[in-house]
């Protein structure tokens, strides 16, 4: 999945647990049905946390997760779709 398919991007770089999940929930609530939210985090724990959040949240579907390196820093990208 690439950034082009995401409808909105949430940048939580530089924020640690529990903020990525809490801000994801806030941004997800504002999405329209069918939208895909891209979450960019530097917290390695977000890989498991945001996946778990999506699994237990009605209407949230984890589309993809990937690890990348930006400017020498590890970033974790998550793509969550809001159900139609």
């Amino acid at each position: 999945m690439s950034t082009e398919t995401a409808t909105e991007t949430l940048d939580v770089k530089g924020q640690n647990c529990p903020m990525p999940v809490i801000k994801t929930k806030g941004a997800f609530d504002g999405l329209a049905a069918g939208d895909v939210l891209e979450i960019v985090s530097t917290d390695s724990g977000s890989m498991s946390d945001i996946k778990g959040w999506a699994e237990s949240t009605d209407g949230a579907e984890m589309v993809d997760q990937e690890e990348a390196t930006e400017d020498g820093t590890a970033v974790y990208k998550h793509y969550v779709r809001k159900a139609e």
């Binding site: 924020q15 640690n16 647990c17 529990p18 999940v21 809490i22 959040w53 237990s56 949240t57 009605d58």
Partner: protein, 195 residues
């Protein structure tokens, strides 16, 4: 017995039996749908945390769990009592203490940790670490929790006991609550924790 034999007295005809069964099924269906809507009404998942500690390290677990549970759609109440009140005290929450004394995980021997000024230094070192590791401050977590709909409660008995005023706490903190309301919340909750 042929199909057109009239039923002997005292027995229901087959059509009466069917009507009886239909009525019973309808009654059961009504009951099931009533029960189902009752269950749905009380369906919100709920968590209650009792926060009793007010040191810098112990302020974090209740606030992190509370705000996270709210993100999972839980109704969350945190009942702060005794030193847990410090977390909700607007002024004190920014300067929560921490001591190395009696904590074998800290790299300072008790004899040195007990010297004057050491607790303040320990707390300052911890606060710096928190900041360096991109961990939110206690104040940020309180604001986040309140914004997520977490009910942060300050036990009235300990407010009086410690000589605090209701205005000392963050806006949005619930005061005027006691053990009975905490207990009722716990009885209704799916998760209850004492921190």
């Amino acid at each position: 017995m042929s199909a057109d034999t009239p039923p002997s007295s005292g027995e229901n005809s087959p059509s009466d039996d069917v009507a009886d069964l239909r009525a019973q099924i309808e009654a059961l269906e009504t009951e099931v749908s009533d029960l189902r809507s009752e269950v749905d009404e009380g369906n919100a998942d709920k968590m209650v945390i009792i926060a009793t500690k007010g040191t810098l390290d112990m302020a974090y677990p209740p606030l992190i769990l509370a705000s996270t549970a709210a993100a999972f759609g839980y109704d969350v109440t945190v009942f702060h009592t005794f030193w847990g009140l410090e977390i909700l005290h607007e002024e004190n929450s920014k300067d929560l203490g921490l001591s190395s004394v009696g904590n074998p995980n800290m790299p300072v021997p008790n004899a040195i940790a007990a010297l004057p000024g050491m607790d303040r230094m320990t707390a300052r070192m911890m606060r710096n670490r928190i900041e360096d590791n991109d961990v939110a401050s206690v104040e940020e977590l309180i604001e986040t929790s309140l914004a997520s709909g977490v009910d942060l409660q300050a036990c009235q008995m300990t407010i009086d006991l410690l000589g605090y005023d209701e205005d000392d706490f963050y806006d949005g903190v619930t005061t005027g609550v006691g053990a009975a309301s905490a207990f009722q919340d716990m009885a209704d909750a799916d998760i209850q924790l004492l921190v």
